[in-house]
Amino acid sequence: MADTTQFDLVSPERRLASAAVTAVQIPGADGDMTAMAGHAPTITTLRPGVLSTEGPDGTSEYVVTGGFAEITAAGVTVLAERAMPKAEVTADDMAALIKEAEEALAHAKETFVNEPGPVDDAAKLLADMVAVGDHIRI
């Protein structure tokens, strides 16, 4: 049996999960990564996506948007601005998130006319949101 590491998932409103797990798959801003016990200390920001954990108590999946993950020797802490168990996410929730991302993109296009940076970021956020929506519908 593989070593376990402490995993905490907290959102501003509540603590969603706190358990010993063997592996956490994190949707990092630069790509997905899997953290297991003994992972090098890392801090990464999150992109909207599905975070999944594997542990002695089985696997669980959460939809997270915005925030960051902190991997230390003591464990993995994910601070997500919004997080909910995947099973509880409804199509309406996703639609609301996508709409928000669309508005952010429109806003970015207006505000930063000749700066591609923020507009690209907003477009990527929207694409990620849509991808999450497609992913969990399967």
Partner: protein
């Protein structure tokens, strides 16, 4: 001298007031428990967030490329005060204390020749500050319809504040709210949120060397705006608990005062009733003697 009937009415009316204040106290107690729970639930997030931010800020802060939200605009001419109070009254000195702190802060800044702008959250504080600083108000956030403060509410306020910051409307933002200590004590607090400040944690463990993905600067730039929302959210929750705590003790006092008043009025009522009886007896006796 009030008549017996008047006294009786007074007693009845004070009794019903006592019933209301008692009920309000109990409602506040239940709400307080919920507000405290909400505040406790959010604490792990806020604490971790601030710890990571403090570490990041310490390593990036010195460089010239540090984001404006951290290093400031290089000036402190225009000050924004975000005054958070409650939507409802009858909670003792809760709103007045926050307003008082904000007022003295604003006067001090004005004396120093700075421009002051005020954004109010909650209508009670707005009402109190309107007379002195009405011309400085730039916006008002109404949370009357919100039953339970959520992170989205804080995000909405943060978004507005950040948009104003990006537009160069102010240089420094300070948040005013009441920190919840316990039911009888809430401390009005002023906290600077832009540029961000971090308290040095006492006895903090030597920071681990982290890998950053993407770069430290990018993470910091991503997290700073979220930090503003987090601070506002924490302030809102503290305020919620403080408000209910203040209301609870205010209503407790009111209930006790009503009880004392009822006792006093009852004694007066009994005295005047006895006086009336004595008078009647004297009249009967002297009538009988006259015959």
């Amino acid at each position: 001298m009030p008549s017996l009937k008047d006294l009786k009415n007074r007693i009845e009316s004070v009794k019903s007031t006592r019933k209301i204040t008692k009920a309000m106290q109990m409602v506040a107690a239940a709400k307080l428990r919920r507000a405290q729970e909400a505040a406790e639930q959010s604490r792990p997030y806020t604490e971790r967030f601030n710890a990571v931010m403090a570490g990041l800020a310490a390593s990036v802060g010195g460089s010239d490329s540090a984001p404006k939200l951290l290093s400031g605009t290089g000036s402190d001419k225009v000050q924004l005060l975000i005054v958070m109070t409650s939507e409802r009254g009858l909670c003792g000195g809760f709103n007045s204390n926050i307003a008082k702190l904000a007022r003295s802060h604003a006067q001090k800044l004005q004396a120093e020749g700075k421009d002051v702008k005020i954004l109010t959250v909650g209508k009670k504080g707005r009402d109190q500050l309107k007379r002195d600083f009405g011309s400085l108000f730039i916006d008002h956030v109404d949370l009357t319809e919100v039953k339970r403060v959520g992170y989205v509410d804080a995000q909405a306020i943060a978004k507005d504040v950040l948009a104003r910051f990006d537009a160069g409307e102010f240089d420094v933002a300070t948040l005013f709210y009441s920190k919840f200590v316990n039911v009888v004590s809430q401390i009005p607090t002023a906290q600077q949120i832009i540029p961000a400040t971090f308290e040095e944690e006492e006895g903090a463990e030597p920071s681990t060397l982290f890998d950053y993905e993407p770069s430290e600067e990018a993470i910091l730039a991503d997290l700073l705006p979220r930090g503003v929302a987090t601070q506002i959210f924490a302030g809102l929750l503290e305020n919620g608990a403080s408000e209910q705590g203040a209301r609870m003790s205010a209503m407790d006092n009111a209930t006790r005062n009503a009880g004392e008043m009822i006792d006093k009025l009852t004694i007066e009522f009994n005295r005047s009733r006895q006086a009336v009886i004595t008078n009647e007896l004297i009249e009967i006796i002297s009538g009988a003697e006259a015959l």
